[in-house]
Amino acid sequence: MPIDKIVPDVAAAVAGVKDGDTIMISGFGFAGVPNDLIHGVLDAGARDLTIISNNAGTGTEGLAALIGSGRVTRIICSYPRSKGSDLFDARYAAGEIDLELVPQGTLSERMRAAGAGVAGFYTPTGVGTDLADGKEVRRFDGRDYVLELPLRADIALVQAYRADRWGNLTYRKAARNFGPVMAMAADLTVVQVREVVPLGEMDPETIVTPSIFVDRVVHIDNDREWDI
């Protein structure tokens, strides 16, 4: 039977998301955020979610809407507060959301470790700072490093540019950002793309996320600008 990871709509793409899930959400600033999939999760009604994303949402839609809904109890990110992150800021001030702040390079490397079967790694980032508090510090070749652990998710929501039915992906410009490492690090990787092409049309040299990392693909041709 032909492998076909293309699903008909957003509801089918996020089917199975459940209370208590940990969800990775791609994007950096407003580039590469899978807003349609995020609203699919919102519509699916799951609660008590842990979100892993670089930012914590801005404006009134996308990640900000999910956080504003009160369904997110915990967020793991590097830079939650930005211009327009009012919905997150309010939840945070009210003590309604837990924040695990992770240096951005450690955040992406912990995802890669999870995807690559690495159980822990030593990084120089954060040594001697509050963000290394309580973590193992170890000296290699005269320099101190912090032990960091892999970061997994139940579901990764990723925005990419182009896909085929096997789930091969390319991205567009700086919208690539966290997509490829999140796709590796989740039990279920769900991708929204602007174009679906026939199998064999993507140049095998230029595929960024190979098919093996992807579970579902949904085609979103709507090009609206979100309030994020």
Binding site: M1, I3, L199, I212
Partner: protein, 234 residues
Amino acid sequence: MSGAVSTSTEDVGFAKLSRLQIAWRAAEMIPDGSFVNLGIGIPTLAANVMPEGKEIVLHSENGILGVGPGPAEADRDRDLINASKDYVTLQPGGSFFVHSDAFAMIRGGHLDLALLGAFQVAGNGDLANWTTGDRRFPPGVGGAMDLAAGAKAIWVLTDHVTKKGEPKIVEKCSLPLTAPGVVKRIFTDLAVIDVTGNGLVVREMVPGLTLERLQEMTEPSLALADDWKELSVA
């Protein structure tokens, strides 16, 4: 699948599978839609006998997904070889990537299955397939330990006994291990055997072979599955 069936000079009443037939038997059992790595030796042959009607994506640890069968001689490309250093082709949907990503796929548990060769397999699933321990020759491990540790399931494809007639399925590996307790199924030139929590269970035997005769060539105790079948080569 057609192919010559080799006959044993010692045994009568049954015929051993050829290497290609072992590969074919394993290939037939790969679930549709799987992502699979084929190790060096008999497993590599499976690329040429993949079951029709299924879409199975073959991974090669030198950085390929979607490995296709070997090309005609005129179509060989020196930049397109598999982990056994054989010329291959790329299927539509295939991709190339860096070695470290190839092994992220392996170690990270993304491969559904790896088909590996073996020097020895123990009844508990221990695998020895990287060195014969002969110190005159340099050992080579390649990707064997990564595959054994990382793929979701390991199937072994091997002759049932060594050229000297000694069992390759043993109580305890005497050769250095590749990984402990990883093998789930063994395809030999005589049988298909599952490694279970209750020991080795024979699922299939070649026509004419008896459990008693198979047991003589196998160190750990074998049980016969209730629904065992003849290993028939179509």
